[in-house]
């Protein structure tokens, strides 16, 4: 009925009735700030990416796809793009796995699980830059307690200088990103598990299924949708995790921990190469938009069901 009525009312009236006018008025402040400080800058970044710039980022003429072509010819760019992808995939996979384990643990009804839940949240609740600084201290080669503990416990007699060499630095960075991201996964999965009705488990128990069967035939299908949305969200956050890498290593040593967004920051604000940096920003923009649209579609589908 409502749809029929809507189609009969002329377009002009639907665009400009009192209710719509109020809506535009109420939306105006949000739209104005977003236009000025988000959409205009996005357009401008595209503009810079297609132009030549000097060291103070003034535009010095249109150059077409030149910046992109030299970017795509650069071997380092492909290395960094590949690293951004496996950085994201590895981190999200580990977060999902550990988050699932923690959610399963917290779904067991033991005394003190509320406190355990609160404690598990801390790495997510903490400010990311501060966490990264704390980890830098934990990783400290001389006075850090990580290596001291590994040595004292006879786990590893010669642990690496974590942030000093390419592979250890990459592992150190990705672990901090994972560590921050686990609690969100655990909380989402736990909420999903708690929404599964007890009856299903009761009857499964009566049928004599094993723990693994229970997990794969009841729990996992019950939270399938949430796993999808949480991993997508986590992909976006992980791909965007500038703070951890920048604070731990600034993309070093020798660029071994650079991902797209840290590289683009350094090229722009450290080396004043604004055009290549903007071209990288454009590439990043398309990757993020694709992931975001996917997330939004799944989110909406779920809202409607």
């Amino acid at each position: 009925m409502a749809e029929l009525a809507e189609s009969i009312v002329p377009l002009r009236q639907r665009l400009w009735n009192s209710e719509a006018r109020l809506a535009y008025l109420l939306l105006a402040p949000a739209v104005v700030v977003l236009l000025a400080f988000m959409f205009y800058p996005i357009v401008y970044v595209f503009l810079i990416a297609f132009s030549k710039t000097n060291r103070i980022s003034q535009l010095k003429g249109f150059v077409g796809f030149k910046n992109f072509i030299s970017l795509f010819k650069d071997k380092e760019f492909w290395q960094i793009t590949a690293r951004s992808l496996y950085w994201t995939v590895i981190a999200v996979a580990v977060k999902t796995l550990l988050g699932m384990i923690i959610a399963l643990l917290l779904n067991v009804k033991f005394a003190g699980r509320r406190i355990a839940r609160m404690l598990f949240i801390i790495p997510w609740a903490s400010a990311v830059p501060i966490s990264a600084i704390l980890w830098r201290w934990v990783y400290h080669p001389d006075y850090g307690l990580l290596n001291a503990t590994l040595k004292a416990g006879h786990v590893w007699s010669h642990p690496p200088v974590w942030l000093g060499y390419p592979l250890p630095a990459f592992i150190a960075c990705i672990w901090v990103d994972i560590w921050i991201g686990i609690p969100f996964m655990a909380l989402v999965f736990l909420a999903g598990m708690q929404a599964i009705s007890e009856d299903q488990y009761e009857s499964a128990y009566l049928d004599g299924v094993s723990w693994w069967q229970k997990f794969f035939y009841i729990t996992l299908p019950g939270i399938r949708h949430l796993v999808l949305i949480a991993t997508l969200l986590s992909c976006l956050w992980t791909f965007n995790d500038f703070n951890v890498i920048f604070i731990l290593t600034r993309g070093g040593p020798a660029g071994a921990t650079d991902i797209l967004i840290t590289k683009l920051y350094l090229s722009a604000f450290e080396f004043q190469k604004f055009s290549p940096a903007s071209a990288m920003a454009v590439v990043t923009f398309f990757i993020l938009t694709a992931l975001s649209v996917l997330y939004a579609r799944i989110y909406f589908r779920q809202e409607q069901t």
């Binding site: 809506a23 402040p29 949000a30 700030v33 201290w137 929404a195 920003a281």
Partner: protein
């Protein structure tokens, strides 16, 4: 329930082990801030301070100008909270309750841009801020923080407004309230829990923000706390006992606030399948 009872002690032990493992950096933070400078720089470092002392928490305010940075962060975070709320509430009401063309598209857009990294616009945002003479000002940071939080807060607030039954609002309209009156006198008071959530969210986001501060702020007296901690590490003689004490104090407000909104935040991010 065989698999449940048998698994319980195992679950408890694994939980404790995992917690010890995951909370290690915070243990190190507490231990380090209670050590004396000498103890911090001994090799091998000790797990626990011999004689716990709170002097670092006091030295912080004198030697590190903690008060200055704390004040900057408070101004920026409160400023962001206020501006964010002023922009979010009307916009969220409009998308939640009013019928107009493009409503769905706008909601969709908010959900998409919520995920955008500030880094894709940072280069030109820097220029915009420079042109508006907003570099190195509190207002510049407040604006940048607001822009990158409103998409999510409008989206969350929209959910709260929508959960209020239509009948309440219709009754008010029939009783002669204007639209604006129903918003200010009926809808906002009912949506207070949601409002608190979005306000805390924007406060935390601004408090934790690093990138805009790093790029836009030059002068020391306007530096937010998180950024000042980072700059403190950069110096060649980092006083880690002070830094850990500073991290501890800086974390307290966000941890407390985070626990208030944690469940609603998870529900807002993961969508309708989770009830807050």
């Amino acid at each position: 329930m065989k698999w449940r009872n048998r698994g319980k002690p195992f679950a408890v032990i694994l939980t404790i082990l995992l917690l010890l493992f995951l909370l290690f950096p915070f243990f190190v933070m507490l231990s380090t801030m209670l050590k004396s400078a000498q103890e911090v720089y001994q090799t091998p470092p000790a797990w626990l301070p011999k004689k716990p002392q709170f002097v670092n928490l006091v030295r912080l305010w004198k030697e590190f100008d903690f008060g200055v940075f704390f004040k900057s962060s408070l101004i920026i975070a409160f400023g962001t909270t206020i501006l964010n709320t002023l922009v979010t509430v009307p916009a969220a009401y409009a998308v939640a309750r009013l019928r107009f063309i493009g409503r769905k598209a706008i909601l969709y857009l908010f959900l998409v841009i919520q995920m955008f990294s500030p880094l894709i616009v940072l280069i030109s945002l820097f220029k915009t801020m420079a042109a508006l003479k907003l570099l190195d000002t509190y207002l510049g940071l407040v604006l940048a923080n607001t822009v990158f939080t409103i998409a999510f807060t409008i989206w969350m607030m929209n959910g709260y407004f929508r959960s209020i039954p239509m009948e309440i609002e219709e009754a008010a309209l029939i009783d002669g309230c204007t639209r604006v009156q129903t918003i200010t006198r009926i809808m906002i008071p009912i949506a207070v829990p949601g409002l608190v959530t979005t306000m805390i969210y924007s406060f935390i986001a601004a408090w934790n923000e690093f990138l805009f501060g790093l790029t836009f702020i030059q002068s020391r007296q306007r530096m937010p706390l998180v950024l000042s901690l980072y700059n403190f590490v950069g110096r060649w003689t980092t006083q880690w006992e002070l830094l850990n004490a500073a991290a501890f104090v800086a974390l307290i407000p966000v941890l407390v606030l985070f626990y208030i909104i944690e469940r609603r935040l998870v529900a807002g991010l993961a969508g309708g399948a989770i009830k807050a």
